[in-house]
Symmetry: C2
Subunit: 229 residues, 2 copies
DNA sequence: GGTACGGTACTGGTATACAAGTGGCTATGG
DNA sequence: CCATAGCCACTTGTATACCAGTACCGTACC
């Protein structure tokens, strides 16, 4: 497990949740790893309570499996859940951007504009490591503009199943293309052009198609064995 | 707060979550009510720990608002969240039933068939109080058939915002119509007829249109005052 | 050598103790 | 009578103690 800095503003619970999430997505807590509430608590320098609450939450989304009195494990990558994550993102993102076309205010658009401008700036200056955070923030801002922030929170939890597979794939979509997609989406929202916006989202998501079988071949121990074989 | 029987199979945490949820949906814990972890814990006969974990979970979906060191409150009915719930249900249910048309196995269909048959039986015998539970189960089985069970779990949490408004409306859609809708949906899945299935879901959801303003007029104290007025 | 049994050191589930902060009530002084 | 200061009873947040159940390992006995 990798160290995560505790921000002064967050509670122990928020810190623990963030630290565990980041470690799972980055695969520093690899699929199948056994985790102990006590161990993580002492590693993070907090008590079991906040750690336990975080683990409970992740287990709700099947990111962690809890076997009472036996142990807890980071879930193996399960095609079932990855598909659910991809499905949810596809269905929601397209529906939400259409809503954003209808509902976005000037202020919403300005925030997105600032975000995209920053993406373009970092792209020009080859500081592409910053783009990952801005990317997530961009998509959140779309949900905010569509007045669907609660839905976004749920989306991001289940998306962990997909995110860690993406980490594992080490597949990198050219940042140029990502940022360009974002610029075009913003334009579509400005123009209230739902049809174009929807098509852009579909095209954007298609860039992240992952060859799961190839990864399974090189890291079979990370994957759940399907029952139907 | 109304008593909820503890099932012998569930943990204290599951019991607490279920009890609190049911009380919020039934409005026995009315919107705006102040709740205390200690109070609920002693009422349910468990300690603060499982109660606290449940409240934390509900606060994630904005069902409960926590003000540290001050108190926690059942959220007032907020049009914003109700709309998010309706939006989520509409978007997901239509997309999921299409998936169910593709993916449902014989076993899945048989379970739905049994459920619908039971609905029809209770309808014939005027035991319509049983239909509410079967209704929820019916929609869950559709998600199961579409291999989207995790998504269903998230759906049901956010739907609380809508469910309690429905309780408040005391609006009753004729059970005859509901059960008939379900029968037709099942047929569409059997026939793998996505288009019909989708239209049926839309029609079905339209039956639950609620006149929020009328309810707001008769119970203004349950509603959040909009900031844009 | 093999097997069965028991101790031990873990697990997560629950209960309780303590900490830090808030708000209201009361008592006291003007 | 009013205002203010301080105590007290509450809140949630966190840490810790205790419980029941599990797994594993070593030992003793066959």
């Amino acid at each position: 497990m990798k160290t995560v800095e505790k921000l002064p503003t967050e509670t122990a619970r928020e810190y623990a949740l963030r630290a565990i999430k980041e470690n799972i997505i980055s695969l520093d807590l690899a699929p199948g790893t056994g985790i102990s509430e006590n161990e993580i608590a002492s590693f993070l320098g907090v008590s079991r309570t906040p750690v336990r609450e975080s683990i409970q939450e992740l287990s709700k989304a099947s990111i962690i499996e809890i076997y009472p009195q036996k142990g807890s494990y980071v879930s193996l990558i399960d095609s079932q859940y990855v598909e659910e994550a991809v499905f949810l993102r596809t269905v929601l993102d397209t529906a939400v951007i259409e809503e954003a076309c209808d509902l976005a205010t000037e202020a919403d658009i300005q925030k997105i504009e600032d975000n995209v401008a920053l993406q373009e700036f970092y792209l020009q200056n080859y500081a592409t490591d910053k783009i990952y955070v801005l990317d997530n923030e961009f998509h959140r801002l779309i949900y905010v503009a569509a007045r669907k922030e609660t839905i976004h929170a749920m989306r991001s939890t289940i998306l962990i199943h997909f995110d860690r597979l993406r980490s594992l794939s080490m597949m990198t979509v050219k940042d140029t293309k990502i940022v360009n997609d974002h610029r075009l989406m913003l334009d579509a929202i400005k123009n209230k052009d739902k049809e174009t916006a929807k098509q852009l989202v579909e095209k954007h998501l298609n860039r992240y198609r992952i060859d799961e079988e190839a990864i399974r071949a090189s890291h079979p121990e990370y994957f759940k064995v399907s029952e139907n074989m």
